[in-house]
Symmetry: D2
Subunit: 257 residues, 4 copies
């Protein structure tokens, strides 16, 4: 009997703020199975959050919280040194706010994925990851942590007994240890779209990817991160979707993996 | 058989922010039965909120959300013109954030009391009150609305089928229609502490208070608002408590009324 | 000898914030003679302000500060009740910040135009206008106040001895008393572009405009407010410019009027 | 002929925000010769800034800007990774805002001292220091940079041709290279007040201090940083002042050194 392959497509959404519009949420939402929704710290305000939940709910996709640093001016992309207590409380606040707004619309929060600099710092920092995961666990231990494959966040989530989904990037190169090639290095990005899609398909079917050194490494791909900004990004998501479907790989939310 | 009288004592708490300390929470919390906790908009940050929930939980008091305008610089005390959609979403965000942080500590949110200018504007504005109450109802219809006795907020909460508790002020004068005497008018404040306590006891036992005109009016007193800032305020709370106990009036949280 | 007619074209600019882009500043700046630059309260951050000053300087246009309410989430478009002291200090802070950043680039601040809800509230509120004008006067009494023709802001500025330039709107209807027809009323907007341009030319050449009642009223038009958002807005600015030039009306900054 | 010794006493002030009060500005201002005034990013709002300028002006002390990170929730005490462009623009914005508010009260800005984490990060980071100093230079090249004795900030300021004043701490230990002993290490703090004052006097008269290793090192002390929070801090400032006066050391603002 043939093995059934499944993967989740996730995207960062709901990042508009007040009079400022960001992204093409209405176009990207129908194309993904899991939506990471900003929670009012690095982006979004309550009106945006409420509307985004409605859009995702109508599209039938799953919802996750996308908590970030309290740095709207830097869009959460700048490293900040938070104490364990601060990191935990800030994540809990944001997850609770979005979770409760979902509850008000009859939707259950599926996952939490840290945003931007918080995601990147946590990937290399077990204590920061633990602060994030403790917040999630205390709020609702059924929530799935969506984290970089091979990161400290994965370790911390597992140590706390939380479910973890592993995220991979179609357009990024990997080191032999499974970490992403730094953006400043050669091989950081996969510019050829067909190659990028080929790599994703292989990650899903074979659990393997060719590292920047040329060596094949093991990788687990539960979810692929796609971008929704700009026409090219949307075309690329369409391309990935078509290829996954052609390969018989089912696109479904994290909770169905 | 003698009738059993009960009343709630509520106070605004958890209003510190980052490096800024406000109020004497550790001293006032053991003296009240219901704590109104700021939610990060007009005051408080997630670390403060988390610590305040712990303090209130340890004291065995009940917790309510105290959502305000997004105006930290004005401490939520300045009128702002929000649309219905904005008011509803801002309240839902704050209530959900605090509610989820309570849930993380195994505590159930008892009530919601709007803060400052939001409270005062809503008291006279049915639509604004409705926005607040719809947010609360969609989040959790068991939550009690704590509102000014005789206000539009009471009407809106009742129309939506929410439980309402009526708040009275020991140190304020009342007009014949049950509204508070404007702060700029003669009779706005009851300066004599004994008189203030006498009035409160009569509101509870007889459901009556003498209006600024000298005429007795009907009033329902489910909860008395007390202040926790400064030594005098704390002494006054002690005085009210002793008198209520002496009168055989039980002090208990809103949910036990 | 023929009379020489002159008018200023002003536009609101520099309203991006962090990762959020707003407006087409690079396209509108070369088309206007005076740029109203946001100051970090209702919109803009210091990086945006610095870049905007450079763009305006390179285009040879004049710069003005565009202070607003401390309400980024509402883009300064929501009424807020500030005390006199608060309004004055907030305006001074913003004007000083932009003025000093201009000074760092060797540019002199030409004017101040309040933004959004602050502009509209001040137009009807002499005390609020006075707070704004006192702030400007104490900072630099050479700065020109750009205010709605016929508003309380004009009166307050004149009473304080400040220079005032009168702003008119090409696309808005006027009441007989010179105020704008409320947005909710019939006749609030002039939808026909040719009619709008005709009206502007008449305001400049004859100091007259036809009110919504059909009666001609006197009006002084020192500066025309144009919008820079979207392709249509830019086309309309081009249309006004061409017509003004064809009519022999010189477009020049406020300080040259 | 006897040599005349002089030193400046500086303190961080004007750190209240909206309804939040911090510090005892009215008590510390008369005791120092230079006041570092917060500029609205890590602390302070325009009303606080305006009042603080008035207080300092009335006391006859000199005023400096105390720019910090845009992190009110963390009081500017948490490291943030800013780009060179961001750091420069943020400092310029804050210095310009305070400088212009001083100008409105007829006061000239004397110095700039970075606050908290910005001060500490810049002390070890030449590029960050350069961003700060470029901002100050472009705003007004007469402004004095107040920086940690021996820091990268001193180097950057000198390289840009700015005047620099060197700050020392009465209550901190020094390493042999002139840097402060890290707070986590033994010898970080001088707990004995008399010893602390003795050390300060020796720094001023002999330009020497005993490092934590026991070895004497050279140090230049233009300004002593004192704290104004709490009764003990104020008593210590009094103690330092009395001793300096007894030693014939004149206390005067940086610009008179």
């Amino acid at each position: 009997m043939e093995q059934k392959f499944r993967v989740d497509l996730n995207s960062d959404l709901g990042e508009s703020f007040g009079g400022y519009k960001m992204g093409s949420d209405d176009k990207i939402i129908p194309l993904v199975s899991s939506a990471n929704v900003a929670c009012g710290y690095h982006a979004a305000d309550p009106v945006v959050m409420s509307k985004t939940i409605t859009l995702v709910k109508e599209a039938g996709s799953a919802i996750g919280a996308h908590p970030g640093f309290p740095d709207l001016m830097g869009f959460g992309r700048r490293n900040m040194s938070l104490s364990f207590e601060e990191a935990k409380a800030y994540v809990l606040y944001q997850v609770a706010a979005l979770g409760g707004m979902c509850q008000a619309q009859g939707v259950k929060l599926q996952h939490v994925k840290p945003h931007g600099a918080l995601y990147n710092m946590a990937a290399k920092d077990y204590e920061l990851s633990k602060a994030i995961c403790e917040a999630v666990k205390e709020y609702d231990e059924e929530i799935i942590i969506l984290a970089l494959s091979g990161s400290e966040t994965v370790k911390a989530a597992k140590d706390l007994g939380l479910k973890v989904a592993l995220e991979v990037f179609a357009d990024r190169g990997y080191e032999e240890d499974g970490s992403l090639v730094a953006r400043s290095k050669v091989g950081a990005f996969i510019h050829d779209e067909t190659e990028a899609v080929d790599r994703v398909v292989r990650m899903i079917r074979e659990n393997k990817v060719t590292a920047v050194t040329g060596k094949d490494i093991n990788i687990q791909a539960d979810s692929i991160c796609v971008h929704g900004d700009g026409e090219n990004a949307l075309l690329f998501v369409e391309k990935i979707r078509q290829r996954l479907i052609a390969e018989g790989i089912e696109i479904c939310p994290l909770r169905q993996l």
